[in-house]
Symmetry: C2
Subunit: 461 residues, 2 copies
């Protein structure tokens, strides 16, 4: 085992150069113009996995392809028989968020920039840097000839940022091949390098777009203004009615199935080593804001939200244009918690919006993707093994956290493969995931590789 | 005089070809990229005026140039002495609104398309087609050798759509040269070709932008959502509080100085020959909407408004992007009526927004241009002359209307030159001014030329 850890230590600069290659692909899954970049990135990953010694292939899907890479000579798994070796799936995604607004990046999003112990690039922390750490840990076993105590299958998809539409079908089709003891995922975060973390819960989500249509075309606001409702104003008034001034959603039924936080969970949340003042400074807000009766840690990880991601209406160019816009649109995502059902939430939200939409407007609602929240027991043997690997790799006592983001596919792994997921996030809170100047700490990269190498030992002890 | 009218009748097809030339200039004053087009349009106008026989020149300003064209051999005007001939200023503007959104045009905005009696192009009705009608009437006098009963100065500016910033200074500088008996302006509308109109009132305006700044950058809505206010939501909530659900502005002091409508004015408004059903159909709205206690005609011409012209926040591209936007912006124009003071309205609006802005947001207000409303007596000799010219040119009894749009410079003519303005609009209600597929009726063009030719006779009778 020491040779594996030594190999990792010795090869950091090469690993970093390879990570830069990986980050140069503008694999933006949401934007059709980047389809060739997504495909090139997948092809590069397959070639890289083969070079390491993995048995890798590209699986086409109705959307972007999935990269599958397996350690050689896997033990056969026959239903009903205990296999010779355990099998773990390592999940990650090679697609990234759109880089816009480009003008806020200090260096181009797809030209990685290294400054001290930090690498800046779109996808560096979410999720290329994180899944690459696992890949390098496997390489260390294979290249040093150290026997892996288990079989591994890496599944790297290209649609995580657009709802993992194809993954469910892929898992169903390859259910036998992917039959495993657990799924390991590094796509979340830890509070700091001194606080490695196991994430035992995730929020779900429900995305949609609201468009209010008013006049048949933009109207002169002088000639017609006053005798016709303004769609932008109608939208503002509609949105103002879904939430109160303390952050609580006012849509009837929205909180119907929310599982209350237990005393134990609130204690764990209180251990989270970020003060309100630090959070306020990190976000750069004049003041924190959130639902009454919950701490900021609870608000952003264990409470549902109704969030506007974008507003579009009328004239947005330079100068002024005196119009009544023909329509106004809001992009929305609701974050969900256990045990909210995205379908139910979508239904109550839709019902409410239809009910309060004024007769002067035609309401159009476009459904986006939905996913349930997730929770796994933090006291089971899988979690305990993960906590040991974290403690050893980071030389620090790990903490148990719930994360506010969504990894919808965690539910798919449970539902289709029957497997629990171990969420071992390597991101830091200020990594700017989904924002300009996304970054990844090289300490997280290196310790993440070590954690991954140790994890296979701990999981098979 | 008959030779003037005959000349007009005979030359319509050439006039139309020339109007097309004029409309091909993309003279968009709001967009810096179109500055060369604005300048080329002005230069073309000067050349065209000279060709007609006018004494024309380009006057540079701090913004876009102003074209000044005078009939030859003007009678000298000495302060205190009655001049030999009356002098009228004809005002128009050669700049146009931005053409966006381009995808909604059925043919390119700067490639005029003629279909039956209608010409489609940006600027066709607002205001190139209208001011060109006056130019052609002058041409008819000059080319037929018919003596004009008065002196005329055409003033065609290039900044009307961006608030006529330079015109005030220009009028002050050329106060002596522009000393006149009245200003004639065709930049408004008539209800139909059967209802030529004199507009005796205009609304004023007050433009500004509100930006709410929240977090220092776009945030991951999963990781941070719930513990931080969303600027798009804060903006919606702010905007929802400036107006009630019946269209009445709720900002304290907003209606302070509004002059109530007289019985006579309400009678004139009731003559306006457009039914609510026709208006609803014209605008393509599910339902009309407006302030309680006023008819749609009154609401859109004689009542102040608070109108959102554009909303911008967060992600607007394809697909979804799960962020909390760093900021959210609304472009706003308030329409004002006599006797509201734009400065006072700006002050009460600003005070109110500051008061209701939540402590989670930093409020930025950017002031745009402002202008007072305007009203002129519909029973004076100037108006009576105009009504006679209208009736003769259009063979129909003209009506007296108030228009909801703003022509800020009407106030400047009054303040600086001491001159009243005759608003003889040639546009039709469905001309799509400021909208895609702007158009102008060739009947308005031709009858407008005749009205202009007759007007100089009536004004000097």
């Amino acid at each position: 085992m020491q040779s594996v850890l030594d190999y990792l230590q010795k090869n950091q600069s090469r690993f970093l150069a390879e990570l830069c290659e990986y980050l140069r692909f503008a694999s933006v899954s949401a934007q059709p113009k980047h389809k060739p970049d997504v495909q090139a990135c997948a092809a590069w990953l397959v070639a890289h996995c083969r070079q390491i010694g993995l048995d890798a292939r590209l699986c086409e899907t109705p959307g972007h392809p999935i990269v599958v890479a397996k350690t050689p000579n896997a033990a056969p798994r026959t239903p009903g028989k205990k296999p010779a070796r355990k099998h773990f799936v390592v999940y990650g995604h090679y697609d990234v968020q759109p880089p816009e607004p480009l003008e806020l990046w200090q260096s181009p999003p797809f030209e990685p920039r290294i400054e001290g112990p930090i690498i800046y690039a779109r996808g560096s922390t979410d999720d290329k840097g994180q899944n690459f750490a696992h890949l390098k840990a496997v390489e260390a076993y294979l290249k040093t000839g150290t026997p892996l105590p288990c079989d591994l299958t890496l599944v790297l998809e290209g649609e995580e940022e657009v709802g993992s539409e194809s993954l469910g079908g892929f898992l169903k089709e390859h259910r036998r091949e992917l039959d495993c003891d657990a799924v390991v995922i590094s796509d979340t975060g830890m509070p700091s390098l001194k606080h490695p973390a196991l994430t035992y819960g995730l929020r779900g989500m429900m995305a949609f777009e609201i468009t209010l249509h008013g006049p048949a075309r933009d109207l002169h606001s002088g000639v017609f203004g006053g005798a016709v409702e303004n769609p932008a104003m109608a939208l503002a008034r509609l949105l103002a009615r879904v939430r109160d001034d303390r952050g609580r959603v006012t849509i009837p039924g929205f909180y119907d199935d929310v599982k209350p936080l237990s005393k134990f969970e609130r204690q764990q949340a209180a251990r989270y080593p970020v003060t309100d003042a630090q959070l306020k400074k990190l976000l750069g807000v004049p003041q924190l804001f959130g639902e009454h009766g919950f701490t900021p840690t609870e608000q952003r990880s264990a409470r549902p939200t109704f969030e506007i991601n974008g507003l579009t209406s009328g004239y947005q160019g330079e100068g002024s244009k005196t119009i009544i816009p023909a329509w106004a649109r809001a992009k929305i995502t609701c974050r969900l918690v256990p045990n909210q059902d995205p379908k139910h939430v979508r239904q109550v939200v839709t019902n409410y919006l239809k009910k309060i939409c004024p007769p002067t407007m035609r309401l159009e609602i476009t459904a986006g993707h939905g996913a349930e929240a997730y929770q796994v027991s933090p006291t089971g043997p899988l979690a305990q093994a993960a906590l040991r690997a974290l403690e050893s790799a980071f030389s620090a006592k790990p903490i148990l956290i719930r994360e506010g983001g969504s990894i919808p596919i965690v539910n798919e792994f449970k539902r289709i493969l029957g497997a629990d997921s171990l969420l071992l996030g390597l991101g830091l809170p200020d990594d700017n995931a989904h924002s300009p100047n996304e970054k990844f700490h090289l300490g997280c990269f290196e310790k993440g590789q070590r954690m991954s190498a140790l994890l296979w030992q701990e999981l098979t002890r």
